[in-house]
């Protein structure tokens, strides 16, 4: 078995919790990236999800059916396994605060393949780097906006508090709920195997 490993690194003026919110927010995948159809969840509980979906292959016009398992492994690492008909991928998102205002986001992409698939790894490597950059640029406004909203005292599903004295900077106390709560969408949770619980 051959392994391709690609590491991409970016920096953002937002807290690690804002970065985690963005990477665990399943509802933006379609509206912002157009990369997924609506996922069909099989399992959700605190810190982990399993779902089936069709994911768009970067820079090609095809969609691959895939099984995705994502887990918040520890406070700094989110790990995602994606199984498609052609390959198994592991994706680690490492989020670390490097100073008061900046967070480093390091994504480690790993693909396993046989020696024939390994012939394509050099092309894969270029595509993954471009993919990472595209996704980063699409996500950046979400992270910055969310950081700003929290600094104005924003409360999820409510908005900015009405009273001035309630508008306290919440960037330091905000903790992302994982998985990020979604509004009720019967379709996404309609699979007969779906289970949900607490760890």
């Amino acid at each position: 078995m051959k392994i391709l490993k690609v590491v991409c690194e970016n920096f953002v003026a937002a807290t690690p919790e804002v970065v985690k919110w963005n990477s665990w927010d399943s509802e933006h995948l379609n509206s912002v990236h157009g990369a997924y159809d609506a996922p069909k969840y099989l399992l959700t509980r605190e810190g982990e999800v399993l779902f089936v979906d069709r994911v768009k292959v970067p820079f090609f016009r095809i969609r691959l059916k895939c099984l995705v398992f994502a887990i918040q492994w520890d406070s700094e690492n989110q790990i995602t396994y994606t199984l498609t008909p052609f390959f198994l991928a592991k994706n680690t998102i490492n989020v670390q605060q490097i100073n008061d205002g900046t967070t480093r986001v390091r994504v480690i992409y790993e693909f396993s393949g046989n020696w024939i698939q390994a012939l394509l790894f050099p092309i894969f490597k270029i595509l993954i780097q471009r993919w990472n950059q595209t996704v980063w640029e699409e996500d950046l406004p979400l992270k910055l906006r969310r950081q700003k909203a929290l600094s104005y005292g924003f409360i999820d599903f409510r908005g900015i508090p009405d009273k001035m004295e309630m508008r306290k900077d919440r960037t330091g106390i905000y903790k992302a709920s994982i998985p990020v709560p979604t509004t009720r969408n019967v379709e996404e949770f309609s699979h007969p195997f779906f289970i949900s619980g607490r760890s």
């Binding site: 509206s31 912002v32 909203a149 005292g153 999820d156 009273k163």
Partner: protein
């Protein structure tokens, strides 16, 4: 707390303008429709994305939620989240919005 916006800075018919007040920790979206101004918090009540005027509703591109211009209710999701509307008064050279 009240803020004043001059007529010159207000949107034209069918348009919208956003004003940020970092000291007051609020950002507002003013639209003009049918000759009337309406003022909203520009933070989408879902997760804070930027609200924009799209046709006859407010839209947030983060997760594609849409809201009613008249009562702020969400129009395309099964949720009770609502965007905030502000009262304002017409003054000599503009409008005065109460963003408390």
């Amino acid at each position: 707390m009240q803020v004043e916006i001059k007529f010159l800075d207000l949107p034209v018919e069918g348009g919208s303008v956003t004003f940020d007040f970092p000291d007051l920790k609020q950002e507002i979206l003013i639209i003009k429709k049918g000759g009337r101004f309406m003022v909203y918090s520009s933070f989408c009540p879902h997760f804070g994305g930027p609200l924009e005027l799209k046709g006859d509703r407010l839209h947030c591109y983060f997760h594609d939620y849409e809201f009613s211009l008249t009562d702020g209710k969400c129009l395309n999701r099964d949720t009770s989240v609502k965007c905030s509307l502000f009262n304002f008064s017409i003054i000599e050279d503009g409008i005065c919005v109460d963003i408390t």
